[in-house]
């Protein structure tokens, strides 16, 4: 393998030495099975783990045996300790390998036994590899090849052996980019495959996936699933997946294990195995029960739909419209060149399209958060509403004062943490109405009502950041509900949510539409589109041939400088 030898060699020839190796040269030779690690099994015997400072164990008394080479889907409601188990298996729980029970002051306390390949978990680095949920925080280095090599370097793999491993791993996950390709330029699905390649290059006998596709669009989900199937098929490694989208993985695994909820009657922590067997049998026997706990069970395994039927109201008049709208992020390329769409009262619109089509940019521009580059966003009088004394506000939302925007257009961001501004859950819901000077009694009443609806009454005084992902998501939608704007814009509201949260969100959104609001949701979720009876507006990637319309002004308040800047940017 001369190409390998050259590429694996030192940096003597400058950067070019390893950064532009001929990847095609070793396609045939570098399969991951040469020297692949033996698949290893897992044994948990009465294993418990408690986070330092928490009274309740995250996992208590888990008994589970996974044979080498088995492929297991691990299901269970949030709080059942699935992620804790994976972290324990890979050996990254604080002090997991430490000390006996009752060691106070440790960051965590483990009891019982957790064995990987017959040895305590984490005792041998690289035995188990873990891919996590968030693509963004798993990329370590700036270049694809270096990132995949990172794990090998830490395992003290001889340098000459690293580059062949890197290539084989990239091949296994089907990531066909040069080794010096910037990791920042990868899509979410590609980043997850990169993370998987980084794990495979370490040649683990046990591959652990913790919701690897939760943050991806359908194309990305498929990409990652296929990569896992191919890679694990080639290495024969034991596979344990935590994921609540059963349909994606049911055909990949040969066993489903369901962990019970934590904190139940007398149960202590999570960790008790409540069902175990082949996917078909477990789903047939426990389908409804799993669905009730938020697992995405395919329809044929459950008795009813996730949400009841609903008659969408008859759409009313136009509230907000885009005409030949061109939009871009500040300083970025033009993401959408010419969009025409109208949002009507009491209706839902879904904005769909491939990654990079500018869906979010268009949504943020319609929501008055980005300045249009060309064309116009126009608000109709029904949306602008009573403005009280003083000059009438314009029809261009991006020019409105922040408070006027709050009153008229609610925006729900993809990551709820971006828009949480208060120190308590209750304060979060009361924030908007208070800012708009609504009577305190009314604010209190509405806040309590929403807390009740969200099932968060007990957590009213908790900090919003301490809520679970699903709770945060519902809270962020409810903050818009609390103000009651006529237009609500949502960016991927159902991304990564379990089935229960999803159903709760649909109920909230239907309530908004019933109340006469116009909904615009950037989404890949066909179920959501169906449940809301949404009209679909599909965006194609920007076509440079489409001319940009000049920006239309609403005929007010543009200073000379603004106008000059506007013209320059358009």
């Amino acid at each position: 393998m001369p190409a390998l030898a050259a590429a694996a060699g030192a940096r003597g020839g400058g950067r070019a030495a390893h950064r532009s190796p001929d990847r095609t040269a070793d396609r045939s030779s570098g399969r991951p099975d040469d020297g692949a690690a033996e698949p290893v099994g897992v044994v948990a015997r009465g294993w418990s783990w408690r986070h330092g400072g928490r009274r309740r164990a995250a996992v208590s008394g888990l008994d589970l045996v996974v044979d080498p080479g088995e492929r297991v889907l691990l299901l269970g409601p949030s709080g059942s300790g699935k992620s804790t188990l994976l972290a324990g298996l890979v050996g990254v729980l604080p002090d997991a390998d430490a000390q006996g029970p009752g060691d106070e002051g440790a960051e965590g306390e483990a009891t019982g036994e957790l064995l990987v390949g017959g040895a305590p978990a984490g005792a041998r680095r690289g035995r188990a590899g873990l891919v996590l949920q968030d693509p963004e925080s798993q990329v370590v280095l700036a270049r694809v090849g270096d990132d995949v090599a990172f794990g090998c370097e830490n395992l003290e793999v001889p340098p000459a052996e690293i580059w062949p491993r890197v290539r084989a791993a990239l091949d296994a996950v089907g990531l066909d980019v040069p080794l010096d390709h910037p990791t920042a330029a990868l899509s979410g699905g590609q980043k997850q495959r990169l993370a998987l390649a980084g794990v495979l290059a370490m040649r683990p006998g046990l591959v652990l996936l913790d919701e690897p596709t939760a943050n991806l669009d359908p194309a990305g989900v498929q990409e990652v699933r296929d990569a896992v199937v191919r890679a694990v098929g080639a290495t024969g490694a034991t596979l344990v997946i935590v994921e609540h989208r059963v349909a994606v993985w049911a055909d990949v695994v040969d066993r489903v294990v369901v962990l019970g909820a934590g904190g139940g009657a007398g149960a202590g922590g999570g960790g008790a195995v409540v069902a175990d067997g082949p996917p078909e049998r477990v789903l047939a026997e426990h389908g409804d029960e799993l669905a009730a706990r938020g697992v995405w069970v395919p329809p044929r395994y459950r008795s009813g739909p996730l949400v009841p039927g609903w008659d969408a109201p008859e759409p009313g008049g136009e509230l907000l419209a885009a005409r030949a709208l061109a939009c871009a992020r500040p300083g970025g390329p033009v993401a959408v060149r010419s969009a025409d769409l109208a949002l009507r009262a009491g209706s839902a619109t879904a904005l769909t399209g491939p990654n990079g089509a500018g869906k979010t940019t268009l949504a943020l521009t319609l929501a008055g958060l980005l300045e249009p580059v060309g064309g116009a966003v126009r608000a109709f009088p029904d949306l602008v509403g009573d403005h009280g004394p003083g000059p009438a506000p314009g029809t261009a939302p991006w020019r409105w004062r922040s408070r006027d925007l709050l009153r008229r257009v609610g925006t729900v961001f993809q990551d709820p943490e971006h828009q949480l501004v208060a120190a308590t859950v209750e304060g979060e819901l009361a924030h908007g109405p208070r800012l708009l000077g609504r009577p305190e009694a009314e604010v209190r009443r509405r806040t309590d009502e929403l807390l009740e609806r969200l099932g968060l009454t007990a957590l009213a005084r908790a900090h919003p950041f301490t809520l679970s992902g699903g709770e945060k998501r519902r809270l962020s939608v409810a903050t818009a509900l609390a103000v009651g704007p006529r237009v609500v814009v949502l960016d991927e509201p159902t991304f990564g949510q379990d089935a229960l949260t999803w159903a709760g969100l649909v109920e909230l959104l239907r309530e908004l539409v019933d109340g006469g609001a116009a909904l615009l949701a950037v989404t890949h979720d066909a179920d959501l589109v169906g449940a809301l009876g949404a009209r679909v507006h599909h965006l194609a990637p920007p076509d440079p041939a489409v001319p940009l319309a000049p920006r239309e002004d609403d005929g007010r308040s543009a200073s000379g400088l603004r106008r000059l800047l506007g013209r320059r940017r358009a």
Partner: protein, 292 residues
């Protein structure tokens, strides 16, 4: 460091469905892609670092017009080595160019007075002496700033980290931790913009006056910190899961940080610039040590 790294590239790459052809990674100077390969950009970052320090040290020892002017002329002749077209290079150098003039002007006004008074306005005077000092400061800011920016632009953080850990034997846990953290800084710029939009959507964008404005910005900074900490924690977990950071464990390097003849060349050229500037000033009798 300026600007967010390759957010634009990522959008276009995703749009095409396939990754864009190699766009290059972001250098320490915040430059993403587009660097032409030159001996300087290929050099080991430790060599460029040492070279830059040599020039800076020679110019900071003295404040005079001759040394700075000689160094600046030589540096401008070497600019093609930056590997960047003139216009983008000029854009990157603009902050230095803009900073040099006021630095000189302030010196001319408040600097130590000597010789004839050229402009007098109460206690503020510009004299022949202070004007000369001002010119020397302007030239010096340029002569130190221009190579500084160019070297930063040419430095790839990964290569620098490799050099620091492998050649200078700095602890690899800290070097690699810092390198991974650096990548998060670019993401924070994007996060900051999103936070600003989200807060406008929630009615917090109208702050008038310094007090309200400070409160709003403080809230946004806090939110950014929390988000950054969570990201960093998750990244640390991902790194640990890949065998990083085990106390006392060794490590191999897939990339070898090595020195070549070109690295000696870079250091030699920088040393020559420093020596020429100092020699010219000594010969002209203007060499004026700052210390002593």
């Amino acid at each position: 460091m300026s600007g967010a790294p390759t957010t634009g590239t990522s959008a276009t790459a995703a749009a095409a469905g396939a990754p864009a052809p190699t766009a290059g990674t972001t250098t320490l100077g915040g430059l993403a892609g587009g660097l032409r390969s030159t001996p300087l950009t290929r050099a080991n970052p430790l060599a460029t670092l040492l070279g830059g320090l040599l020039v800076a040290a020679a110019l900071l020892l003295t404040v005079d017009v001759v040394s700075a002017a000689v160094a600046l002329v030589l540096e401008v002749c070497l600019l093609p080595l930056a590997g960047l077209a003139p216009r983008p290079l000029l854009v990157r150098l603009l902050p230095v160019l803009l900073a040099s003039v006021p630095a000189g002007l302030v010196t001319a006004v408040i600097g130590r007075d000597a010789g004839a008074v050229l402009v007098g306005l109460g206690p503020l005077t510009v004299t022949e002496g202070s004007l000369g000092l001002g010119a020397a400061i302007t030239l010096r800011v340029l002569a130190v700033g221009v190579p500084g920016v160019v070297l930063l632009l040419a430095t790839d953080p990964t290569d620098l980290a490799d050099g620091l850990a492998q050649r200078l034997r700095l602890p690899h846990r800290f070097v690699l931790g810092g390198l991974a953290g650096l990548r998060l800084v670019g993401l924070l710029v994007v996060e900051w913009r999103t936070l600003a939009m989200a807060r406008r959507a929630r009615g917090l964008g109208d702050a008038r006056g310094p007090l309200a404005g400070t409160r709003v910005v403080a809230g946004q900074v806090l939110a950014l910190l929390v988000i950054a900490l969570r990201r960093a924690t998750r990244l640390a977990l991902a790194m640990e899961a890949r065998g990083f950071g085990v106390p006392g464990a060794g490590r191999t390097w897939a990339r070898t940080s090595s020195f070549a003849a070109r690295d000696a060349g870079v250091v030699a050229v920088c040393a020559a610039v420093a020596a020429a500037a100092t020699a010219a000033a000594v010969l002209a009798g203007t060499w004026a040590p700052v210390l002593g």
